[in-house]
């Protein structure tokens, strides 16, 4: 590994994707389409080492994610190690299979907070999107999370199938006593990219839903914090992806591959390193993958001469790759991009699909579909 840069900021956020196994089948999952190809999972020992090394560099926010992180039997051991090291640890879970006993066990191990995802405000739609009957259990879990003194974060991913429920989703979150509600408009990577025609709402739907969410934000101020993740297809500037490549975020995939963002596995030629072969410090400072889009040398026009390049760093490389075929291009969400038209094309295609009498069905995220598509 060559090309060491000594002025790197250290990682602050570590996303530990413990497993790709998941009882749910959400069609907007951000895991890679071909996840079924990556069967290997890191050992407990390797995870403990990763946590220690990343913490030493300065990582402090830790997300245990997946797949469903609860399917790892060593989760309490990892949580305890994280607490001993001083991480603030977040469990990002579907809630499926989470019992009161487990909630207590994880609290005693030092877990700081639990984020439960709910797919919709009605049982029928939740269970349809999740691909699993899980609605009532998720609500029970949300109550238990509160009961045991965790800050409760509810996460609802928004798309065309549930955007009409915005008002009911907000009311449900308040009723469940959520301290934080994350309203995450779908980002179109992984499975969501494959299902985009069926998931992308119209601008009219977005505008209406956002107005409802913003009004609610004021109503519950001081009681429930609402994080609203904007739908970047309807913005004219891209998001500052990952706060800048290799500046803040470090994702470790279930098989030990280190990624500068959780979608980066989709990009060609990064040669992402594995924690079984290198230390976190080597990976962060010296690997090809983490230096790939660091700084501005990679930029083409219009980013190269743009006065907003320090604000959004050219946007998202995965989006540039998925929508223009070239990851060095400006994120086409930017209205300055010569490829910006692909965004309108995507919006039009989705609108047409919703009107078609024989709309194709959603592709659910499961191992069978993963093998078929990869």
């Amino acid at each position: 590994m060559a090309g060491s840069i000594k002025t790197n900021t250290p990682p602050r956020w570590l996303l530990a994707e413990l497993t790709y196994a998941c009882p749910l089948q959400c069609p907007y999952c951000s895991n890679p389409i071909d996840y079924a190809r990556y069967q290997a999972e890191l050992s407990t020992e390797a995870w403990l080492r990763v946590l220690t090394q990343a913490r030493k560099m300065g990582a402090v926010q830790l997300g245990f994610s997946g797949g469903e992180p609860l399917s790892r039997q060593d989760l309490p051991e990892l949580v305890k190690h994280a607490r001993d090291l001083g991480y603030y640890s977040n469990l990002i879970t579907s809630g499926y299979g989470l019992t009161e006993e487990k909630i207590i066990q994880l609290k005693e191990a030092g877990l700081d907070h639990i984020q439960v995802s709910i797919q919709a405000s009605s049982q029928e739609l939740n269970d349809h999107i999740a691909g699993t009957a899980s609605f009532e259990h998720k609500k029970a879990v949300a109550h238990l999370v509160k009961k045991h003194g965790y800050p409760m974060v509810l996460c609802v991913v928004i798309h065309r199938e549930n955007i009409h429920q915005m008002a009911e989703i907000l009311a449900m979150a308040e009723e469940l006593g959520a301290d934080y509600l994350e309203i995450a408009n779908t980002q179109y990577y992984g499975w969501a990219h494959a299902n985009r025609d069926l998931l992308l709402p119209t601008q009219e739907q977005f505008v209406k839903a956002e107005a409802i969410a913003q009004a609610y934000k004021e109503k519950v101020e001081g009681k429930m914090k609402i994080y609203y993740v904007v739908p970047d297809f309807y913005e004219d500037r891209p998001k500052a992806c990952m706060n800048g490549w290799g500046t803040t975020f470090l994702t470790i995939a279930p098989d030990g591959v280190a990624l500068p963002c959780h979608s980066a596995r989709e990009l060609p030629g990064l040669d992402c390193p594995n924690v079984n072969d290198y230390s976190i410090e080597e990976i962060w400072n010296e690997s090809k993958a983490f230096n790939f889009f660091r700084g501005k040398d990679w930029m083409k026009e219009p980013c190269r001469s743009c006065d907003e390049q320090d604000k959004d760093f050219g946007g998202c490389h995965c989006q540039a790759y998925l929508l223009t075929g070239d990851m060095y291009n400006t994120d086409p969400v930017c209205s300055k991009s010569p490829h910006h038209g692909v965004i309108q094309d995507a919006i039009d295609a989705a609108a047409q699909s919703s009107l078609a009498a024989n709309e194709k069905p959603l592709i659910f995220r499961n191992s069978k579909n993963s093998r078929l598509l990869s």
């Binding site: 250290p10 300065g58 603030y88 001081g222």
Partner: protein
């Protein structure tokens, strides 16, 4: 939530105040977020231990740093802190 001058203040049970060696700073940690504190903010928050009111925090700080006239600055910060949910009363 307005600041009650008569009630003692305590640090939030759903946030964590912690020294970060890598940053050489006190930080507040909460779900998916972190606030980096300057030294004076950290000193104020450390005194929010459930026993002191605003006036007692001010007098403790004035004594510790051998100074006077901190009331306005400390109160202004505590108002921000209570708005953000970093501290509570009752």
């Amino acid at each position: 939530m307005p600041l009650d001058l008569d009630q003692p203040l305590h640090f939030s049970r759903t946030h964590r105040l912690q020294w970060e060696e890598a940053q050489q700073k006190q930080v507040i940690l909460y779900p998916e977020g972190m606030v980096e504190l300057n030294q004076s903010s950290a000193e104020i928050l450390k005194l929010c231990d459930g026993t002191r009111t605003v006036a007692q925090i001010v007098s403790d700080l004035e004594q510790k740093f051998a100074t006077a006239g901190l009331t306005n600055d400390v109160t202004a910060f505590l108002e921000v802190a209570i708005q953000n949910g970093w501290i509570n009363q009752n």
